[in-house]
């Protein structure tokens, strides 16, 4: 392996891959076998964090940034005048193994620009994974991109070596896609996703009958949407997300605030701030759907098509539904506890345990770690002190904002000034 050549390629092809936000290395169940290298059976590990605060868990690179497509939002688009490079299969294998042995990474996340054809590209991605598994006895995490348009046969093979497969839908609406990536259509993304979903179901049911059935993409599938590139609203993004969670059993949907990389007039111009606060609110909503038992219609609907920027979506929901409160923390069920603003699932867990022994009061709740600044307007406990004024939603919101300091305060005042 020639050091200088690999170094140059790595710089180009890591830079080109960084807009894919997924770096998850969790959710697999691949244990170390035959005293080989690696183990992907535990929860994920972030081995370091970049200066933008994002987790570095996998060696995330493109096999090549040569691409036959010209999607406006993509830095690797055909018409972009940038340096191009391509790794050889063996170079990726060597980098992965050597980074892994030094405990730098949990595994490999391999994506690629599309060169020649979808199948030709997918074949090479699969070749890397196959070599790592069969020749190097590598049991670390492998995330491969499903290339839209790749054959069913290749997708089936990919799942036998990869822990996770993903295909990015990128643009949340069909109209947006038409505008920004006219050569692509939704159906091309959906086909490999559908194939992988069906294979996962089939392998799982076979596994129940025949123990030796091999694993097929044990960490499931994920996708990513770009936020703020095509004028979509939060409701469109989250309904699309919900559709993919429900219909394709996705493990994760990622939201990536659009980083301007082009002077194309169809897109936000270079220098436009990345909508990081909006991205954060979308993730909070995603969490409410997956862990807190909310339905998407409760948070976003025809009357509320955008998430509030100044308060989190759970507080927003509570303020619109004051008739559900106050909740008695000593009696309420888990579902309702989880709906109190200022209570995370960890606090809910502790409350459910602690209240078996005694009635909880404000001191207990504070010690447990409940954020009372927000929660106190929405709950009662074993105390005769509680919010007795009949406050309006507007008033509660004002009081909460007055007494809290958001890490987004600076960003918020900037973003709000734009509208004001």
């Amino acid at each position: 392996m020639s050091f200088e050549r690999v170094q140059e390629k790595l710089n180009i092809l890591a830079d080109a891959a960084k807009y894919d936000v997924s770096c998850s290395s969790s959710g697999s169940n691949r244990a170390n076998t035959n005293k080989g290298l690696g183990d992907a059976s535990n929860s994920g590990i972030c081995h370091t964090y970049t200066e933008d605060g994002r987790c570095v868990s996998l060696l995330k690179i493109l096999l090549t940034n040569h691409c036959i497509f010209d999607c406006a939002y993509c830095v690797t688009r055909k018409s972009n005048d940038i340096k191009r490079a391509a790794f050889q299969v063996q170079e990726v294998v060597d980098l992965t193994i050597n980074f892994y042995r030094r405990n730098y990474i949990e595994g490999l996340f391999l994506s690629s620009g599309i060169f020649k054809s979808a199948d030709y590209t997918m074949e090479r991605l699969v070749a890397v994974a196959k070599k790592l598994r069969l020749e190097e006895n590598f049991n670390g995490y492998i995330h491969l991109k499903s290339i839209p348009g790749a054959s069913d046969e290749l997708m089936r093979e990919a799942g036998l070596y990869a822990d996770r497969l993903s295909v990015n839908i990128e643009i949340p609406t069909a109209e947006g896609l038409k505008l920004l990536a006219p050569d692509k259509n939704r159906a091309d993304f959906i086909k490999p996703m559908e194939k992988v979903k069906n294979e996962i179901i089939q392998y799982k049911s076979e596994k129940k009958l025949i123990k030796s059935t091999p694993k097929y993409a044990p960490a499931g599938q994920s996708t990513q949407m770009i936020v703020g590139a095509s004028g979509e609203n939060d409701m469109q993004i989250m309904y699309t997300s919900n559709y993919f969670y429900k219909n394709f059993n996705l493990k994760r949907v990622y939201y990536s605030g659009y980083v301007p990389i082009s002077y194309d007039t169809r897109l936000p111009q270079i220098g436009t701030p990345v909508p990081m606060l909006r991205e954060n609110r979308l993730y909070q909503t995603d969490w409410l759907l997956r862990f807190y038992g909310f339905n998407i219609e409760e948070i976003l609907n025809e009357q509320n098509q955008h998430l509030d920027l100044d308060i989190d979506p759970k507080l927003g929901w509570a303020l619109r539904n004051l008739h559900e409160f106050p909740v008695d923390v000593n009696k309420a069920d888990k579902r309702m506890l989880a709906r109190i603003p200022g209570l995370g699932m960890k606090s809910v867990f502790k409350i459910l345990h602690a209240r078996r022994y005694r009635q909880l009061n404000w001191d207990h709740l504070k010690a447990i770690g409940v954020s009372l600044n927000r929660a106190k307007y929405f709950m009662i406990c074993a105390s005769n002190q509680f919010e007795s004024r009949d406050l309006t939603a507007e008033k509660i919101k004002g009081l909460i904002l007055q007494n809290s300091k958001s890490k987004y305060t600076n960003m918020l005042s900037n973003q709000l000034n734009l509208f004001g």
């Binding site: 050091f3 690999v6 170094q7 790595l10 710089n11 890591a14 830079d15 891959a17 960084k18 807009y19 244990a31 170390n32 005293k35 080989g36 290298l37 690696g38 183990d39 059976s41 535990n42 590990i45 972030c46 081995h47 370091t48 964090y49 970049t50 200066e51 933008d52 605060g53 994002r54 987790c55 570095v56 060696l59 995330k60 980098l95 050597n98 980074f99 042995r101 030094r102 405990n103 730098y104 006895n137 605030g257 980083v259 301007p260 701030p273 990345v274 990081m276 502790k350 409350i351 345990h353 602690a354 209240r355 078996r356 022994y357 005694r358 909880l360 207990h364 010690a367 447990i368 890490k407």
Partner: protein, 254 residues
């Protein structure tokens, strides 16, 4: 009358002290690590000799009172080496043994809650070490890493590395506590090392480490830079995730 029980700083030693307190029906007990012991002005003190059997009896007694997860917290909290950890754990143990039902998750009890908090801190440090260990290949073909964790987490991370790096020799050394764990392709052993006076653990000297080691460090540092998105810069979040005290052994942060 307050009695101080001094133990040898091992977990079994601590459990033996707990056993002794029950056996001698002592009312007010302070359990203290011999390294922290200072002769008290009042009351009596006694050195406890670690006894595996007595320790086991306390451990098994606890086990009958709670779930495996809850039991694990008592060990984690102990490894925090917090000056009040012995007191907290002892008080929590008294509470557990005094109750007929399982109260090990009664988070409205201050000692139980404190044990859970110490556990969280130790668990976080364990996870950090699983992340921040950086192996460097020595000339003898051993992947070597040095760490200085806030808590004594080597016993907790042993299994993780054993399972993961089954086909390479590795050594993780805790410079603060002056011992390490070494895997020789068969099993993991505790070891202590004498370092040369000019050994600098934050450097990769070419006398000790393989020639390709510096190349891979360079590639890793390059990768770390390339994968960053400057227009999303957020140093506060960065430092929150990778606190500065860990930087000296992370090559990408040099």
């Amino acid at each position: 009358m307050e009695t101080t029980l001094i133990y040898d700083s091992s977990f079994d030693g601590f459990l033996t002290a707990v056993f002794t307190a029950y056996e001698m029906k002592l009312k007010t007990v302070v359990i203290v690590n011999q390294q922290r012991f200072q002769q008290p002005l009042f009351g009596s003190y006694e050195t406890v000799i670690t006894d595996q059997e007595k320790a086991n009896r306390v451990w098994i007694g606890l086990k009958k009172k709670m779930t495996a997860n809850e039991l694990r917290r008592f060990y984690y909290a102990f490894l925090s080496e917090n000056p009040t950890a012995e007191h907290t754990i002892y008080q929590a143990i008294l509470y557990v043994f005094a109750s007929k039902t399982n109260v090990a998750s009664d988070f409205s009890n201050a000692h139980i809650l404190e044990v859970a908090k110490l556990t969280k801190n130790v668990g976080r440090e364990k996870h950090r070490m699983e992340a921040f260990v950086r192996f460097k290949l020595t000339k003898d073909g051993i992947y070597f890493a040095n760490i200085e964790p806030d808590f004594n987490v080597l016993p907790l991370i042993k299994r993780h590395f054993e399972r993961r790096y089954a086909d390479q020799k590795w050594l993780i050394y805790d410079l603060k506590r002056k011992y390490g764990i070494y895997y020789d392709l068969k099993q993991v052993e505790l070891i202590t090392l004498e370092f040369d006076s000019n050994f600098d653990p934050s450097k990769t000297s070419s006398d000790l480490f393989a020639a390709i080691e510096l190349e891979f460090q360079q590639l890793w540092n390059d990768y770390f830079k390339s994968t960053n998105i400057p227009s999303r810069k957020n140093m506060k979040l960065h430092i929150q995730h990778v606190p500065k005290r860990y930087w000296k052994y992370l090559s990408e942060k040099q």
